[in-house]
Point group: D2
Chain length 498, copies 4
């Protein structure tokens, strides 16, 4: 029986935001910690991050530009944001829960003195006291202050933490990122670069790291290159270097893309200029295909391809692999739009925004006692009856995770008069979790891990259901061999270690 | 010379929100009052509202449903929200600045006891102390408590206020709505209905009012019918009646549309049922065409037409009146999307979401000292270079107000490689302000009031520029004679009175 | 049975504060409204104020000095504070719930422009939305802006309000003060002074009013002179005039006392200087003796006597009227201290601070499930066992209201080893409520209204109990006939009118 | 020249509070960090704490009682408060800046589950992000969660921290307390007790520690016994043990004092009962005499003496050593009161509360541009002219630190008519700083470190000045040899080590 005034939680996420819908759907069983309280728990091997990082060296407005860079990476993490800057002598840290535009105001930015800065947007549930989990982390160790920002997930974090604790290390956060700091602090090597290399040689997993000291910014991308990291510059300012998870951060601040930081590359920037090295054993490149499918911003140039174009091409390929006889093509907004445009163009079936996304969605909603049909979907998605009524519809989305949301959307279309609903997914069925930095449900929660397509179709109530094939998906890329497709084909490069 | 850390204000508006972009552009010279302070000023004849109202009578979850109704009307006002409920004995009021989902939480809703409620979303700048301007207003007068929610604008407010002050009335708000309360309190007639009629006969302007007492809900729409107001009901609950500015509010709560409240109609709902009367002198219907062009939500059914469909038809008509030779049709998102879809379909030129709207936009942005080109537009609109590069583009928008934003968007497209930019506006040129409830700039600020189309084209830097004609615009409606088009043709039904 | 985590409320008052202990004890049955909610209720004839007012005309730092003046009057009201200033053209208002030092910061004070200001500290329960009840009130009426600050209580408020509502007046606050504004707004006389006189002639009760317009400050004290109001000035600045409830406000800002505003006097200050008149029918002076007994600050000079000295003399008189054989004299801190010093000096029994007052007391306390003996008293009062143990004690306090607190204090002393406890009260038994501005319990709640002294002694558990006589109390004053003693002798000058 | 609206800071302290006036005066050159920002700085050897600790084992309302215990220790630290509780499985932490009654509400206390708890009140400047400096600290180390609360100061903290950093330790706080946690985490011994002993053997300084794990509470007092720590119990609950810095915490919760924790004693409480050991090399007892002079609460029983009584005896001794011919004895409230009572009783000169302390004092005050004479003192102290006028006064205080405040108080008395001011200090001249847990100015700031009594008299403008002698001070104690008097006689038991 239902409680009065049931709170319909948007599952812990800021829901105003288009690009993270999938992320939210993928995120499972997130324990809601009571805000403001802190409970010591076992280190969670399942704690994963989708995050965004930004760094800038030698610019008079380092903090201001980092703030804007983070704003342009907001879709990569809405739980918290932080910046650490350096004026050559000290490091300054500001961080808080919330969206970038809420976290930073003029006063906070002015406190971030200096010409160098790194920033981070974070994606994880957290109570007030978990402030300490918001990155960039900033520590004081033997050689002075050191800050770190991390996008990715370390798969041997549990193992490493145990080892370090046996040696007397005390952990302050529940983040895997802190492990790297301990390894660096414990290293007996001389330079920071040497210590970082020694530390990262012990680490397994997916990572893009930005490190900041008083006078140095170091960027490292793991040898597989799971997560994106780009290097940029400003016209007419050769001394300044910028790093970001996506090019969208460069576009906003008028920086230009120089190149990707390569898998396994470490770039160190100081007043002596920029130095690159590849200190790690080379590995096959395993760029995350999900970044293209739903995670990155459509205008970003990622792994040397434009995201919107990739999605449009996937939509076109999907229309060839999974054609449908229908009156209109309707996307699940916002992330389904590019694929739907491609599907429509390729199939000749007219494109219609038959569902409008509501961007006012807050964190939680209070549902009346007398339950409203499909409340959770209706709060975000507004179907347009005059468009849908009596129509046979191709509904384009980019993934089905548990199937429950897709089921509700199909119901919503039918309630608004849709005659037929043909669901088309612009990616292959998701059969396994990600261990490399995307927060996914466990295998057993993924509907495609245990059901064939016909079972899924029945569950979601579609007339027909079609997925893009793995080959079809890869066919849209220039270099098809450089992608990690483990969540679709179970071929994991390596597994987590406890 | 620029100040360091310049704050780039989103002009006082919550900017996360698609539907109000136009509104924001239309809103001019809004004075930013220091929050928390209060300055007594002359009554502003220019204070206008775009607002949304919702009312429900005889439902066990009156406040909860009003909250959801207001959420579905959020696009009509983002500055503040309020609900007044009645349990038959007392009225309960809750109101605050901010979005509906921020204003109301479980605790606040529980304090709103009873089976009847009215709510309001408001659109006006306001400091903390201006809380008292947030509606529904609630007063205590001779006959007990009375609450009011208003969408519209009274054009003889200045005159009436002076008259009332001469008789010793004290005004607590700067809102024109309070005038109606004073007229009712001063009336010597017996019933509330009689008093309301006597009061409204003295009033000129555009209005939809909802009144609530302990045991009665009264809805009134002005004789011209400028603003929309609909009547709804629940299946299986004949005693319950609902009112809303738009049908989107009914869809979310599973209420069904019964009919529009007619121009000049007063509907009174009590435990005795619903009574309708038309106590005012009849006037020609003057429904606001701008509600369809940009203000209402695309899924709403407004003045007996669906908004999305109207916009798509306007896009089609536009493509016929103002054809273009181009590679792609690109909307200015979000409000330009339906017209662009129509333009694309009618012209056969492929539709592309060549500009992505960023929905994380906060209230203000801090711009670096070294100004960024087109910062204000880039913070919200993300052009996709791979789509735009080398293309001849039809850019579809629904209005040009001052022209400055359009100019920046055209520049942005060119910076991202657009070969040609053909701007097409799915409405006629806006040459005059609105006096009937939409907050517009003064005549002199409207670029089309003093410039011909060629001058505007030059100003915004487009290759060609085409507007929809007034006839073309009206042609998409079933009943073309019932619309107010004063802002396009200067034929105002009446003028404000000082 | 007790609830877990019972919240021990300090009865809605800021309890850090010594001088208001009595006030809190006197305040009865205060309904706690849920904060942030608003319930329309009948106008409460029982709503009374103990408040403080401050005004200053023609000083370059009007708001800053008003802020300090209010701080020095903080003991007269801790619920909220406000200032309205004038720069000759406009009035500026800032007000908030809380202590003066919390309400005002540099930013708020800077917004209070101009050379004239009035301020108010308020003492009444209030939710968020009751902000509008915090004074000074500020309205816009026919002749422009008008602000008012009030200390006192109007006894025909209910009657006047009904009359005004019949004429169509709308009330925004539940405060009796607003009635005066309506009467002024309704007056057809020319000058503000004339209108105020006309208004106040209709009013009965106790009041000190400060009015502020753009260019005028008007102070009025009622013909009985119940509440104090003093006039001051600055050396070397003849144009500047200041008003305050007590001289403590002058001392802090280095102003000097000129004289009391006389009962029935209206002083009007403008750029033309100061004008005094006595427009009302003269009445016998009825200064509140309770101001001296507990309400005013000990260092204030009130009704031409110093408060501390009056209290010390009452203590001396008490020792003569009600001697005791004991080892030490111990005050109930803080307000009992001066009388205890006097009692000790006159009796020769040594004075000891045998109870220390804790000044960290917050608004509420959470009491454990397993109730703690005398928790409510122990949270504030810390007895010193080494002083009390084995001693016969004279416990000096200034009043017994319900008797429950006195009972707990006596118990506390006994628990800490007191051999005998002789309670001595430096005022007569309180047998009736105050209608003239002090918030007291109803008659039936006052223990002395229905019990003789022996019954009270038994109830509180003292070995002996002695009160000061009315004659003894009055004997310490220079002019004994000018005091209202109605709460002690039931001789009320007039009664409230419904 | 003065700035407009100068903010008169109460030097970073909550100033509502009597007992910490001295502390504030003693606190020097406290750098005000911008709130919310974090600057990495060198570890400050000068960072000292006056703090209070409370612990309870095996009580169903552990958190509630700890909250009350901390409230009763509030005078020992007003900057922040925290509690860590244990339910046998997990530790729960709640902490925040502010007073105990502000930090804890019902919700926070309910989150503190379990039957064991330790708490801490803290006294140090801190920004938002310095939350992590608020105790009890809580870490996760090899053997699980461990919490610590500390009152004291470690004099070899700088040295130990350097050593630990060389071994790769990362410090999260700037607190010396964290060092102990690292030493424990690094220990290879088996039991927590063994590890703590190993750790504390490396530590020099003054300390009372409370440690909490899931199932154990350990209390340790340093071998010199600088800071107080008492052990208590509840009648009828043998299994429950409580610890507190002062007995005032026991009185509020109805616990009874068992005994002091002895210098060098470690008490370990678990489900197996209580075990005591003295694992450290014995040292001469060096109880802090300043605890008695001003720091502790007057009703506390400290080092086996009652504080109020000690102060009264010091006042008596002072009157014998430093007699004066005068009309009245006036204390500087609140801390000077007991000594003044003693002085008056011994000398026969009448006691008068000639200065009233204002307990509404907030954190900062805005001083007008036109400076007010002795503003900083007047905001807190209200002289009573009618008492002081024409009198020869003995002004009793407990210390003179820099002399500037004493100078202002003397001026204030003279402005209020005092004929003569004879300053008497109930302690010897303070000539050196404290290294053992009380935050004092540097030696050069202490007026008595470089000036003889006549110079000080001249500086403060007194007619005569007399201090209590060291011998006189010690004479009031039962065991005079057990006190540290280093700040008076420069005989430090040991010095800080860098």
């Amino acid at each position: 029986m239902k409680e009065k005034n049931q709170v319909y939680s948007m599952r812990g996420s800021k829901a105003q935001q288009a690009p993270c819908r999938k992320t939210r759907r993928l995120r499972a069983m997130k324990r809601m910690n009571t805000p403001g309280s802190f409970v010591t728990t076992e280190f969670k091997s399942s704690l994963k991050h989708e995050c965004g990082v930004f760094g800038i060296f030698h610019h008079p407005e380092a903090a201001n530009l980092t703030y804007l860079g983070l704003y342009a990476l907001q879709h990569r993490g809405q739980e918290g944001a932080g910046i650490v800057s350096s004026d050559g002598k000290k490091l300054y840290q500001e961080r808080k829960h919330g969206l970038v535009s809420d976290v930073f105001h003029v006063g906070r930015l002015k406190r971030l003195k200096g010409h160098h800065a790194i920033g981070h947007v974070r994606y994880s549930t957290a109570g007030d006291d978990r402030l300490k989990n918001i990155q960039p982390l900033l520590i004081q160790y033997e050689q002075g202050p050191l800050s770190i920002a991390h996008n990715g997930n370390l798969t041997n974090a549990v193992y490493l933490k145990k080892q370090l604790e046996k040696q007397g290390s005390i952990f302050q956060t529940t983040s895997d990122t802190e492990i790297v700091l301990h390894l660096i602090a414990k290293s007996r090597l001389q330079t920071l670069e040497e210590r970082i290399i020694e530390a990262l040689k012990q680490v397994e997993g997916a990572y893009c790291f930005l490190f900041l000291t008083q006078d140095k910014l170091i960027a490292v991308r793991d040898p597989y290159g799971f997560r994106p990291l780009v290097l940029g510059a400003f016209d007419g300012n050769d001394a300044c270097h910028v790093f970001a998870s996506e090019t969208s951060a460069f576009d906003l601040i008028d920086a230009k893309l120089i190149r990707e930081v390569e898998p396994g590359e470490m770039i160190s920037v100081s007043s002596d200029g920029m130095k690159s090295q590849k200190p790690f054993e080379p590995k096959p490149t395993k760029q995350c295909v999900f970044e293209h499918i739903y995670f990155a911003r459509p205008d970003s140039f990622l792994f040397n391809e434009n995201v919107y174009q990739v999605r449009t091409l996937m939509g076109k390929k999907l229309s060839q692999e999974q054609p449908a006889t229908a009156d209109i093509v309707v996307p699940v907004p916002d992330s389904g739009v590019p694929a739907a445009v491609g599907y429509a163009e390729s199939s000749g079936i007219p494109f219609q925004m038959g569902i409008i996304r509501n961007h006012y969605v807050g964190r939680t909603f209070i549902e009346p006692e007398q339950a409203i049909r499909n409340f959770g979907v209706k709060i975000k998605l507004n179907p347009i009856r005059s468009i849908l009524e009596g129509k046979s519809i191709v509904l384009v989305d980019d993934s089905i995770v548990r199937g429950t949301t897709s089921k509700k959307i199909v119901q919503l279309l039918r309630q608004n008069g849709a005659k037929e609903v043909h669901v088309r997914i612009s990616a292959p069925p998701t059969i396994g979790p990600c261990y490399y930095g995307i927060d996914t449900p466990t295998k057993s929660e993924l509907i495609a891990s245990k059901n064939n397509i016909e079972s899924i179709r029945k569950f979601i109530g579609a007339d027909t259901l079609g997925y893009l094939s793995i080959e079809g998906m890869l066919s849209v890329f220039k270099d098809q061999k450089k992608y990690c497709t483990a969540c679709f084909d179970d071929r994991y490069p390596f597994y987590p270690k406890d």
